[in-house]
């Protein structure tokens, strides 16, 4: 039986190795052909021009800024939801809210994209039209811009962060809370000064998972981001690393296609770095 376990574990490692090797083998040639600086720090993406340009700086920045904003918006909401579920919610409420959050996790990303198109985009378009009315220098995006993408991403990371945070909050021993109450602390004071710090490592790992989900998401934001390569300003149409690959893969050829693989390699490197950095800080935070 232990052989079976070994084979299953080996399969996972083989998959990781295969993906790593494949990404480097496919993504590296274009990087050397185009030039590392021209590609990573170039700002013009014109892959089919007579003199093609493959600058992906704005695409990289969009992925970083978009993910950060989604975390900034999503994480506080998610953590407070977890506090509500584990600390303050009456039992009947928990029975309704918890399954709802868990259901949210199971919704396919394309559905979030549809909701983005139907709800977020029109609302943002109204705001955009009001702000930039008559401003000829602004390119009207029709609601497909960074804000819409960030809002959709923020909602998408909610269930992941809520579920993991709640589990770690529930794992905080009851005697810690009781000691706090015995010292005369209020319920809110206990949550912020005792329970949340005690659950810190679990909440950080929830954020890590949230970042991973946000930076790797493609389908939903393809539908609401606009997909033009621009600086990641709130009302600009933007392209993420993921959507850059998705939107142009079908008809690309030659160096253009290789460059898309390089975008994949950059995304892969990002996710690796984020995982390593957050995991080490997470361990430190947990040990303190």
């Amino acid at each position: 039986m232990s052989v079976v376990f070994f084979v299953c574990g080996g399969g996972a490692i083989a998959a990781v190795l295969a993906i790593t090797v494949y990404m480097i083998a496919c993504g590296f040639p274009a990087l050397t052909k185009i030039g590392v600086l021209d590609m990573l720090f170039g700002t013009v993406w014109a892959p089919t021009a007579a003199e093609p340009k493959f600058g992906i700086l704005y695409i990289i920045l969009t992925s970083i800024v978009g993910t950060m904003l989604a975390i900034v918006i999503g994480v506080p909401i998610a953590v407070l939801t977890a506090v509500f579920l584990s600390e303050t919610a009456p039992k009947p409420m928990t029975r309704i809210v918890k399954p709802a959050v868990e259901l949210l996790a199971g919704i396919p990303s394309v559905v979030y994209g549809l909701l983005g198109i139907l709800i977020v985009k029109p609302v943002i378009y109204h705001i955009e039209a009001a702000i930039y009315a008559g401003d000829a220098t602004h390119q009207m995006t029709g609601g497909a811009n960074l804000i819409s993408a960030v809002l959709v991403l923020a909602i998408m990371i909610l269930p992941t962060v809520v579920n993991v945070s709640e589990t770690s909050l529930r794992a905080v021993p009851q005697h810690l809370r009781n000691s706090s109450y015995a010292l005369g602390a209020t319920r809110v004071g206990t949550v912020f000064k005792v329970t949340l710090p005690a659950a810190r490592s679990g909440i950080i790992s929830a954020v890590v998972l949230g970042v991973g989900r946000a930076i790797g998401e493609a389908m939903a934001i393809t539908m609401v981001a606009g997909n033009s390569v621009n600086l990641p300003l709130p009302f600009n149409s933007v392209r993420f690393l993921t959507t850059g690959i998705v939107s142009e893969m079908s008809y690309s050829s030659g160096l253009h296609r290789e460059a898309l693989f390089t975008i994949g390699l950059v995304l892969f490197a990002f996710i690796m770095v984020i995982n390593i950095v957050l995991n080490t800080t997470l361990k430190k935070a947990g040990e303190e």
């Binding site: 993406w45 014109a46 089919t48 029109p122 995006t141 029709g142 497909a144 997909n227 033009s228 998705v246």
Partner: protein
């Protein structure tokens, strides 16, 4: 008497059989290759035609390379390809090299706007100004004032390639949204007030307004007559007339003009020239 009669009828039957065998043998034993080179825009059509052709004529191999219209025509002129695919009319200097322009199909693009846009006619100059970002308000063209939401296709798309090539705005397009399918363009234009987009003619539907270009409506008839300007020919150029080509190449062109070949052209969304 009986024997003679029997002999004659036997000979007739055998003769008929030989003739019919010979004629059908002429079709199946035909051998050769058709090498094509040229336009990437024509890749979809050429590959679809090759697939059906190679099934129908197993002994002839038709295949294409897709390196661009100019390169394809040069290859035919130099004799390294039998057929040069070009998604534009031939230039005079190319015709001077002995290349013959055989127009196989027409590619038409319709310009669509959201239903709230009152502008129903644009000149090609006005359209180019919108798509390069020089003009950004419908008020400039007599519509109700409102900023244009410029929607297009992703880099690499044949429709975008054709649109920018015809308007001579290649790589100057300033898009607010770059979508990766015709359907996405239609639904986004339909749901976004003040939006403009472009789709291949066969995808046009009632959810959006179709804009007249230079006063001409986007219909298959207007494209055939040449009145509608957002169109380009798909040319399969040969060195000298088709009648001077190898049997394999002649068969290829006969196939393109046959009902099967024409059906493929319609299936990939192009307009037949027949």
């Amino acid at each position: 008497m009986m024997n003679v009669k029997g002999l004659i009828s036997a000979i007739t039957v055998i003769a008929a059989a030989v003739v019919s065998l010979a004629s059908c043998g002429g079709k199946t034993t035909q051998q050769g290759t058709v090498n094509m080179n040229g336009s990437t825009s024509m890749q979809k059509m050429v590959e679809a035609e090759c697939e059906v052709f190679n099934e129908t004529y197993p002994n002839i191999t038709a295949s294409g390379q897709f390196t661009g219209s100019g390169a394809g025509l040069e290859a035919v002129a130099a004799g390294s390809a039998d057929v040069g695919n070009a998604s534009r009319a031939l230039k005079d200097e190319e015709k001077a090299k002995g290349l013959v322009e055989n127009i196989i199909a027409l590619d038409g693009i319709a310009v669509v706007t959201n239903k709230n846009v009152a502008v129903d006619n644009l000149t090609t100059e006005q359209l180019a100004a919108i798509y390069t970002g020089a003009v950004s308000d419908w008020g400039a063209y007599g519509g109700e004032s409102g900023q244009v939401v410029v929607i297009g296709r992703e880099a690499g798309s044949g429709t975008r390639d054709a649109f920018e090539e015809i308007l001579d705005i290649a790589d100057k397009g300033a898009y607010a949204q770059e979508l990766d399918s015709t359907g996405a363009v239609l639904t986004t234009v339909a749901s976004t007030p003040n939006a403009i987009g472009y789709v291949s003619l066969d995808a046009l539907d009632d959810s959006v307004n179709a804009v007249k270009i230079n006063g001409v409506e986007a219909t298959a008839d207007n494209i055939k007559s040449g009145a509608y300007s957002l169109q380009r020919p798909f040319v399969m150029a040969t060195r000298g007339e088709i009648s001077e080509q190898s049997d394999a190449v002649k068969t290829w062109f006969n196939f393109l003009n046959s009902p099967e070949g024409q059906e493929v052209i319609a299936n990939v969304g192009l307009i037949s020239v027949k």
